[in-house]
């Protein structure tokens, strides 16, 4: 047991993590493809046509998983950033930095697919329901994190400042969600909310779960790829980077 613990910490340095990440990436791409294949098959061929919404509702198989992932990635990103801040660990902060664009992408896709769902269903591209509005604000929180890190030249200061933004964001996300929900119920007019989706058949739920798993695997693969690039960039002055065959070439 003790041995295992020590082994994990060995990978806490960019130097040792870099090759490990390289080996893990293909595995996650394969998993993503498998889950994605199963999920899409379920979504398009197995799940029944909805009585009221026809075929267009199938977009929830992208919309809901991307929403889940955007929230999940924010939590994970904040977790890594907090670790980087409290333990003064560079690699943890680099992971947070690597996750942010993927999380932002998930949030953006969620908003976009939400719009595509809304248009045929309720005639508008945008609905100010609680979930979509909170998603929009989450998207802004991601943008804020990424912009702040991009604007600060010193990487360690960028790491720590970003960590504070992420942590403040994590605390605020429930508050923001609650306030938006409150606002939405107060102003609920005739507009239908995406919350009131059709009651789920089991196949629909499975479809969404599989797609969520697919996106999760995809996110890990992409984040690992990105963190390798970040490691190369930030450690470019070290000997081990200069010795890598992809750099020497």
């Amino acid at each position: 047991m003790n041995n295992r613990l020590i082994n994990w910490f060995r990978f806490a340095s960019p130097h040792t993590f870099y090759p490990l990440a390289g080996k893990m990436i293909p595995i996650f791409w394969v998993l993503a493809a498998l889950f994605g294949g199963a999920g899409l098959w379920l979504s398009f061929f197995v799940a029944p046509t909805d009585a009221t919404q026809g075929e267009g509702y199938r977009i929830i198989f992208i919309h809901v998983p991307t929403s889940w992932m955007s929230m999940f990635i924010y939590m994970v990103m904040a977790g890594w950033a907090a670790m980087g801040l409290s333990l003064n660990a560079r690699l943890s902060s680099m992971m947070a930095q690597a996750l942010a664009p993927t999380g932002a992408l998930m949030a953006f896709l969620s908003l976009w697919t939400g719009a595509f769902w809304g248009k045929p269903m309720w005639g508008t591209w945008w609905v100010w329901d609680a979930r979509l509005t909170s998603e929009l604000i989450l998207f802004f929180l991601y943008l804020g994190f990424m912009s702040l890190q991009a604007s600060i030249d010193d990487p360690r200061r960028a790491d720590k400042a970003g960590a504070i933004v992420a942590l403040v964001g994590v605390v605020n996300v429930p508050i923001i969600y609650f306030s938006v929900k409150w606002w939405n119920t107060l102003h609920q007019g005739a507009s239908v909310s995406i919350n009131k989706s059709p009651s789920m058949a089991m196949t629909m739920l499975w479809g969404m779960l599989l797609m969520a798993l697919c996106l999760w695997m995809y996110s890990i693969a992409v984040a690992l790829t990105r963190v390798r690039a970040i490691i190369l960039e930030r450690e470019s002055h070290t000997d081990w980077v200069k010795q890598l065959k992809e750099i020497k070439a």
Binding site: I137, F140, L143, G144, I164, I175, F178, S179, W183
Partner: protein, 221 residues
């Protein structure tokens, strides 16, 4: 405690010597609020409906204008450094700066709001709720804004970046603050909204100074 009062006194003294700072935020509030009727139309019923939202957004933007200078001047002339190494805990000094910022940027808005509210044809009850909501909300804006100001100290593109960081966090204050007035106008009573706003204010009063202090130390490294 002494040191905190000293900071508040010092900041107020400096504002007294350059009165333009107080007035700029106030004028901005007035102008922005006046732009909406110009853009939308003068019907009293419509104005009454949009008033809480418009006035709150105006207050948000006016507060944000003054956020950058919360720490920037002290950072530039070295007094922030001195505060960081003073025996008084930095968090108390930061709290002092936030209080001073509110007194200069937030309180005038609270006092000005009824005048603007009259422009929007709000009745006295609604004006009272508006003032109370702003009284609870503007300190919240200063507290959260301090975190953003500390994070973006000396950073390129600071002003816009500050807005991007801070505006999403302002959403709950906006919703409950404007909602309180709308609720009162609709006859439902503002109690719920105002209590929630007060609760968030208390939470922010505890946590925001710590976050801002951490961000300042990072900026000073």
């Amino acid at each position: 405690m002494n040191a905190m009062l000293a900071i508040i006194r010092r900041d107020l003294l400096m504002v007294m010597r350059r009165k333009s700072e107080v007035l700029t935020a106030l004028f901005f509030f007035v102008i922005v609020s006046s732009l909406f009727p110009l853009g939308i139309g003068p019907e009293p019923a419509l104005l009454r409906k949009i008033a809480p939202g418009v006035l709150w957004v105006g207050a948000l933007l006016a507060t944000m204008l003054g956020l950058q200078r919360m720490f920037a001047a002290d950072h530039a002339d070295g007094t922030l450094e001195q505060m960081a190494i003073s025996p008084t805990p930095l968090v108390l000094l930061v709290l002092g700066k936030i209080v001073a910022h509110w007194l200069v940027s937030g309180l005038p808005l609270v006092l000005m709001a009824p005048v603007l509210g009259i422009q929007f044809d709000l009745d006295t009850g609604a004006l009272g709720v508006l003032m109370l909501a702003l009284l609870l909300g503007t300190p919240l804006l200063s507290l959260i804004g301090a975190i953003g100001a500390a994070l973006t100290l000396g950073v390129r593109g600071g002003g816009v970046l500050l807005s991007l960081l801070v505006l999403p966090l302002y959403v709950p204050a906006l919703i409950f603050g404007a909602g309180a007035v709308e609720s009162h106008i609709a006859g439902l009573g503002a109690g719920g909204h105002l209590s929630l706003l007060a609760a968030i204010l208390v939470m922010a009063a505890f946590f925001a100074p710590w976050a801002a202090t951490a961000a300042l130390r990072i900026a000073l490294e």
